[in-house]
Symmetry: D3
Subunit: 332 residues, 6 copies
């Protein structure tokens, strides 16, 4: 019972630019042998490394999707040395819906790795990416933003790795990507993410957070477009050195622990005290939570539990108990 | 079969500050005589006009909700001459969900007026507001923002009225509210809105658009808080003259017709050419629509069909065919 | 656009015992001309009044359904003088689901009268009952219990009517039914109920509450079976005098106003202080509301707001804000 | 509160061929001012009558949709005398889903006339067709098939009308359409259909049944294409006489009453005794209903209740209690 | 954690004819210990092989269900040598709904093998069939049709097996079944099907496709009834030689690869160029895809990519991007 | 991929009384990093055993939830020797809904053990309880009632264990709990329950059934409160001997096999012959099943298949085919 039921309608080993589709089985009541198409682009020329760039892991994160669509249209195969594989709208059903989660099976695609060839749709697709695409790759980057709920300072995101060589190569890749911030996380339970799957296969890999709020932000789009080409330059797939953005080299930071999060204790409307990117101090007011059910009640004040940079904030006004409303990063 | 089944758990004719609830019947499988509570605040003191301020007509529009919660807490009855009725989270089920539409009956509350005492939940509530609260009022303002989908320059919104006296009084109220923009619309089919219901009852009334994107924007919140108090001052319920904001008097504008809208012709990700508030020219590029299903296809360019101020823009990145992506306003 | 699309598959004017079905149009995706069958029984013999007995107005109220099924099987047409029409599972889709509300359109059938021949399923069926069955009737009784959510002392329920003759005839019918309690209510907004529809047509009519908790209670079933036959005796359709139950003549009571209700102010688990049928005093503890989200918080104590008989109590343990947890009745 | 909120994005009074869209407001959580597009084609040239041809009233009926798409592409405006209005996929959300009912509001579009400008989506669209398009028309034909559930001999369907002139003109139109069968029905409750709306406005109008089974049948498509052009020829909008099909002139039949239907009494799999188009006799076996829940039970035999032509049969194998499995027509 | 929670309410090892039920645990909100009943029939007499015949793997495939219900009623135990186990409506919740997928968990039952005793309903049932029934069997056949979406030439379907002896025995069984066509497939990912589960256990096994369109086709029903008895004769469970159908011996064919499929590239209505069973040529027109959203657009022509017999066609008119519209078979 | 993503917001190893929350990741469309809070209380003092008491495994079982909330509020840490861990509303989303199954993933929490750290919500939470809490424990009791569907005589429930020492210790714990009945079951497939998970880890453990009907029964609440404290006394965590209830020592019983269940063969309304707690005899009438679809049909009589005590009865009036309506226990 090995193998994936997914079929790539192009030649992953072919040369030139190919625009094709993954054909993922999806049985419907009115189409038992129906398939869901997932767009894929492969550019290959001569020998060189293989880089996989992905976006649309979550459907409501747009900077990566548009940057990779742009790259797919603008990149000429003769520019390439090696191979570029692009999945600009990877978890396609979620992308088509403009939602984080899939309308098909309700799954968060980035909690489905390494997948299951006979599981639900998201698991089948995750299994294909893990078992059929990752083994071809030397380098991988998965382009995220904060989605409908969160807004985040544009950042490359990597894991703190025990292998010093892999750590060095990961940081070098992040420097090349050149986001304003590089966040290095020690994620204990990252197992079900694409990033962790890539790491398990020994691939130099990054994730990212490039804005949020469920919108396409023009500045973050520019960072993402530049960063995607920078990764290809860094890998040697494109010629030339990575291009530095107007904000200079990437600032290395981390979110040390859960003590750097602020969570909403009850449902309400969140009124933040500070905008994204503020330097905040432990104990200072983080904002107020308004309980709409009782106009006579005072809003609940929350405070920061740590000192540092306000790296991520709640964007959508309405929160539920347990939602993070602020995440603070510190310099490494 | 007249009358509303809604019960107000306070005395609408009483004095002082009362924080109470509307009890709206909502039969559930596990509670046949269940009721949905809708918070209401009444402040009354001496003789004077009655002003009804409402927010949360749509659940994902937050500036009005927080401004009225703040007003409910901070207003002292002895400041008041007449009566203030506040519904800070009017369509409560939608507010609790943080959604435009009701999770109970899927209705857009602002398409339910004048309501139906034996219809679905939204219709029952609309009927109560129309038949029990509006008859008490001299002035009414319904505080909207653009919601999850749209971002809009902060504006009071009034209807172009045939009665010159009502038009004058409406514009005076809008001047007092003091949003950066006052938009005057000739809406042919506004019948099912709260604003139209108020007008049908001869009440001086306004709607508004005070930001959007599904977030609570601090500047727009400040405009809304000031505006809400300004309306009470203008009505004579609070003492003093309306306070002018830092942006000066309100600029009177209009959106003349459907030719001032730009609509997405197909599904895709919208990349706007200009930020909200730009002066744009007919024929200039409005942005590009990216079709994620085909990375080989060029994005679809759209152009502005009119010249004027970019008053409203699509906020959420993903659009469906038929969604407006831009609305242009012109000075009156 | 008059007339009902519902077809009765028996002869409403025929003699003898007929067991048939109402055929109510219900368009499905896979059966455009599909119909929903609603069981109906008609027994007629000679001349005499027509009595309509209904149950299953709400699907999770069982005493009436089983009592009328029993009556339908056991009654012989030669016992009858006049006509008996029985709808033992009137709102059939709700009955088949064992739910108060319809799984088809989510409607509470008893909020749908006088109905709409081209509305949703419940409205079409209500229109038929109102426009095709009620005009045939001299007397009507709709058998309810408290459903999943509530438990209620077995009672006939009638409206306080302005017409003294109708009031007298209604009370006589209730005395004949012979439940332990007869509750007389002044319902201002009862317009959309079957009872109100019957009254609008000048029919002597009753509703009832005969237990609850979503279960079939054997004692309440006995009361209901006896009461159903008593109504037929009282009408003269069956011979003999109504039979008095072991609890003696019916006690006439009322619930004067909303002040005789206790409502849950927030969500939680309701722990009642007293069992159904207790004599309670205004100000005494009614019970405690346990908030499961916070084990450190004390339960919220609620008190009775009126003195009288605990006529109706919350049955299901979990309540939502706005649910009634107790209703107190007083002797007339 | 008059008027429709629907906007036609073409000039209904213009000349030449216009391919446009109706823009129907449809508020979504992520697009409060969103609109649903409904394709419309208008061809006009010189003076002459206006004919409205519609298909996709139910989304899973395909002959009409493809015939009108073909007509829209192939018809040249210079061929036309007068005006042709085409709605090839009228209830567009149901058409896009390939379902009879709308996925938006669950409504059967042909039970929504004359509509409601402030009702649910289907009601708003029905109101526009009734109030904005029908008043322009001299003749109207709504192209149906049997849908997923039923298979039907290709037929024009008209109402038995009390006005002899209208009856004559309706039959003449049906003769011109030239389906193998013309069915004349006396429908008492046809009020909420498009056909009845057209008749209420004094328009010569027909419906039809042109196959079924949820498939596009090539022979029925040919009948439909020929018939659509024949109606235009009959009206004088196209030159020439209606073309007679290979099966000769249309046979006039009727379904006199409910006694010509066979209904499934319980759920099961329907095994028909005869194919569509068989001459059947009252009392003969119509088929057997297999109850899958009990393999030990014999299938339930059903018999025809009338003699005539098997005009309509159950297509989908699984039926529910109350579904028609056969309809018998008789010559007029 | 071994064992299945499913209980068979008959004695799988008993003699004679037993009609019983599998009792599969299915916890509901209102019945925590509820069970779903799945009908099962066992006929046993003397010594001999055990044959398992199954239908209703997908709920909208009817020939097999009715054939096995007929067999269950008509077979007498004294005719049998050995044992016959029949599951005429195996995935019962899907059968009761007349849908391919389960309304309980949305699963395609034939993608759930070998199942999971503690998974969702379909997984629990698949585990029972695999672990409790298959080990009893010498031969197994699972009766499929094309379902609502597809129409398929009646065929036995077997796998190309590496073990020549198993291949020979499988082909012999298919010859005995005697469908017009025997299709031999090399399915790489067939792991989660019942057929593959049977093969993994060393059982001679077949699947089939016996019509489609969501209807019960009388000719295909006759083929299926004959075939089911032929399998029992071939196994020696019934006496006599398999009966050859009027179309003669089965024609051995295959579908070599994905190049023999035609897929819809976008959503639309499919108009096929040829009926099922046509001999088609690579490059010839396969049909046209009509895009209802734009009546001005030409339909998209599709061509066959291979030469052979049109073995399977799209039945339902509406297709989604990625749906197969034609499958071509070639002689082995 | 080890470890749980759940974070306890208190120190499981700390002293004193801590009221905290488990933070369980739950990605929503509008909050990708959202968490669901599950209340937890830990009381620790000095050295001694650890006892885990849980309730709300199913959300509509209330005696345990209220008893543990009461214990959490009333227990003082200085009374404790060792540690008490309380989860009063363990499967919190189900508890908040007042439903057996989770509204998030539809899972029965007690069929999810030992869980999956990357599965659905219920699986993630079960994995945490199994892998993070159970290893800390010496004794565990999971407090159930019968839920909406069933009513059950208040009982401790333990498994018949092969290890005589564990069996002895389990029975001693049950004696201490002191419910009127102790039921000892040999459950073959109990693998996915919390009780089985505890046993797999060598913990002395019990489940229970303490009433039902979806209500909070005052007598059963008293039994549960006493029992919870008795378990702590028995473990030595609280001082003193277990307190014996007014009904004396617990009666040891068992339900030997499926032959002690009565199941509904079809859908209908269940009318029981006997109340809970009756001594019944094999072959005696158990009750009647009323089929509402046909008032002409006699109810189906069911009989008991075994002799013993009516330990569990169907509570909700409406049953579906396959639902148990009675369970009979026998003395051990």
């Amino acid at each position: 019972m090995a193998g994936s039921p997914v079929v790539a309608e192009l030649d992953l080993g072919g040369s030139g630019k190919q625009v094709g589709r993954l054909r993922v089985p999806l049985s419907r009541d009115d189409s038992g042998w129906g398939t869901q198409l997932v767009p894929i682009v492969v550019l290959a020329n001569g020998s060189g490394p293989t880089v996989l760039l992905t976006a649309g892991n979550h459907g409501d994160e747009y900077e990566g999707q548009v940057a990779l669509l742009d790259l797919a249209r603008s990149l000429r195969p003769e520019e390439v040395r090696g191979r570029v594989i692009l999945l600009p709208a990877m978890h396609y059903p979620a992308c088509a819906a403009g939602k984080r989660l899939s309308p098909i099976d309700g799954r968060d695609f980035n909690r489905c790795f390494p997948g299951d060839p006979f599981g639900s749709f998201a698991q089948v697709l995750a299994h294909y990416v893990d078992s059929a695409l990752l083994p071809l790759c030397d380098m991988q980057m998965d382009l995220h933003s904060g989605g409908t709920g969160m807004d985040i300072l544009p950042s490359a995101v990597g894991h703190a790795l025990d292998d010093p060589d892999m750590m060095t190569r990961t940081l070098a890749m992040a420097d090349a990507f050149g986001a304003p911030i590089t966040l290095v996380l020690r994620e204990v339970n990252a197992g079900p993410t694409l990033l962790a799957s890539a790491e398990r296969r020994g691939i130099v890999a990054l994730s990212s957070e490039l804005g949020g709020g469920g919108r396409l932000h023009p500045e973050n789009l520019a960072i993402t477009k530049r960063g995607a080409r920078n990764v290809l330059r860094h890998a040697g797939v494109l010629e030339g050195a990575p291009e530095v953005g107007p904000y200079g080299p990437s600032r290395r930071m981390t979110v040390p622990d859960m003590g750097h999060y602020v969570f909403a204790p009850v449902d309400g409307i969140w009124e933040a005290a500070d905008p994204l990117g503020t330097d905040v101090t432990a104990g200072a007011p983080a904002g107020r939570l308004h309980r709409t059910e009782d106009p006579g009640a005072d809003p609940i004040p929350l405070t920061y539990a740590a000192t540092g940079l306000l790296w991520c904030v709640r964007f959508a006004g309405r929160v539920k108990a347990g939602d993070p409303v602020a995440v603070i990063a510190r310099d490494l």
